[in-house]
Symmetry: C2
Subunit: 337 residues, 2 copies
């Protein structure tokens, strides 16, 4: 069997799976943003009809998966595996969402890198010859994340200038072993990179070095430059993290072209009071499934590189003096195999 | 490409990866148990030389991986991917352990099913043709888990009769695409099964129905009976969960033969005050890497079925009136391909 490994961290898929369906569900604030009209569902109710925010987040995942399955014209039972995760302690949004689906399930924890992690693993599974359909899902909710990572909302804490806004959003993707595309062609698996940032309100700075590491490796492994892609998106570096990433490449004498960040795309930074932009697993997940995959389907894009970024700390770890480990997984998606 | 799917939930590996190395690290209580002499390392210090229990748990993972890599005669850099997880909020034991290794990393959350989840995914990756070496690791620590899931240790809470003892332990496995075995031949991916148990001190009852579901499916998918295996082990159902699982099979008119539970193997239930037995990701991980893989190597076993079981709740979810979702992944390991 030939090895599908390219360079140091990239897997090149031999029979790239096709993205058969995708679904996006967001909250009110995300619906008020510049991409608001493009999501499958915008809820005006932060509880999504449930009694707690945690249950609301599970509900978002179920809804996103349901939209994705509908577009893929498949029942949940067709899934040979579902990969998913979220930011909650013990990933409960995902576990409770997966419970109702009754499908083989792999729980993940990649913080805000989860959508790329789930998508990458689902693609590797199908390309490896294991089954016909696989699902990938991720979510975050402003209210569950804020009280868990920082302060209870009722406390009314002042947000620092570097803070980002955890998106209330979920995205889901259904992959099929065969189909008309778009296709997942490469997965560059991230290493943990930690440059010593200890500020839980500065995720962009903590994650930018990981994005730099993964992108640089992806270019080296594949021989592609940033110009190859019509769009390179990072998950949720926000305004500060995006600037840091561009600066890191500039120090290498390279201008990162066709580059944007999901945290800047999801909100109107001038008018929506989100400081440095959006964050959370749901940020990149909803931008991917609400906008980017439609852009590939319509021919607006031919090749994109989806690079979700995650900060793998916890309040306990930071309280114990630890810094924030960052990670970034990159998934290349193309209209041609 | 031929499909490697068998029945509804099982993947049959075409070129089963070989288990090249394994490492086990445990705490004092686990060292005092019946398997104590068989682990690679027993620490008398619950801090493993660190300043916090969380850092101690990371340290255990690093040590277990280091023993496994040494036996596999590979540097960490040889790993094309590492899959790992733990019970801590935001899986910090694993993220901080993986940070020091500088390898492509997939974070998982499968609660106490993590060792089977990581081992299964690592095997699927290599069998799919992606790389040459992959690692799987999991851990738990009595002191980090107790205060997070139940009460701070200082509170001195009375443990209920159905309670299990979270093992202070870690296990790591290195898989190679080629080698002399033992081999991972099948992976049965679990579905979430929830029969409504709401007691955080009765994990055995919450997880037994998931183990029943996965085992029954594995037998149906593969055509194997329990007699095929020299040993079937569940992760950490403990005394009560094991009895429930046996009863569920008995209701089907089937006696589960050659069956034991890692939670009963790790401790001496008569003398070690662990109530229903051991639990935690580290329980099944350390029994697998401390005892079972050596048993395969020595020829004591030819075929084993490793079924780690997980409870995917959180204190928040149970506080909100939710029940405990259980999951069980099964990994078949044989001396022949």
């Amino acid at each position: 069997m030939c090895d599908k490994k390219l360079g140091s961290q990239t897997f090149a898929l031999a029979c790239p799976p096709s993205i058969a369906g995708w679904g996006s569900v967001v909250g009110k604030k995300e619906g008020d943003g510049p991409l608001g009209s493009q999501f499958d569902m915008v809820s005006q109710d932060s509880y999504f009809g449930e009694t707690t925010w945690e249950k609301a987040e599970s509900s978002m995942q179920r809804l996103a998966l349901s939209h994705a399955l509908e577009k893929a014209e498949q029942p949940a039972g067709a899934l040979d595996a579902l990969f998913g995760g979220d930011l909650n302690n013990q990933c409960i949004a995902t576990s409770y969402a997966a419970r109702s689906l009754n499908v083989p399930f792999f729980g993940l924890y990649g913080a805000c890198s989860t959508m790329a992690e789930s998508l990458g693993l689902a693609a590797l599974l199908l390309d490896g010859g294991f089954g016909s359909f696989a699902g990938a899902v991720a979510s975050s909710h402003f209210c569950t994340a804020e009280r868990q990572y920082r302060m209870p909302l009722e406390y009314g804490g002042q947000r620092t200038p570097t803070a980002q806004w955890t998106a209330t959003a979920s995205g889901a993707v259904i992959l099929a072993r065969n189909g008309p595309g778009p296709y997942i062609t490469h997965v560059t698996v991230g290493k943990i990179v930690d440059r010593g940032i200890k500020d839980a309100n500065n995720m962009g700075a903590a994650m930018a070095p990981a994005a730099y590491d993964t992108l640089k490796t992806h270019f080296a492994d594949t021989g592609r430059s940033s110009e190859f892609y019509d769009l390179i998106v990072t998950g949720d570096l926000g305004r500060l993290g995006k600037a840091l990433l561009e600066e890191l490449f500039r120090e290498d004498g390279m201008e990162l072209s066709n580059y944007n960040d999901c945290g800047l795309m999801l909100y109107d930074l001038e008018h929506q009071d989100v400081h440095c932009g959006g964050s959370g697993c749901g940020c990149s997940a909803s931008v991917l499934t609400g906008v980017l995959l439609d852009g590939l389907k319509s021919g607006q894009y031919q090749n994109i590189l989806f690079c979700a970024t995650g900060a793998l700390h916890s309040p306990t770890a930071l309280g114990q003096g630890e810094s924030v480990p960052g990670i970034c997984h990159a998934v290349a998606i193309s209209n041609t195999r």
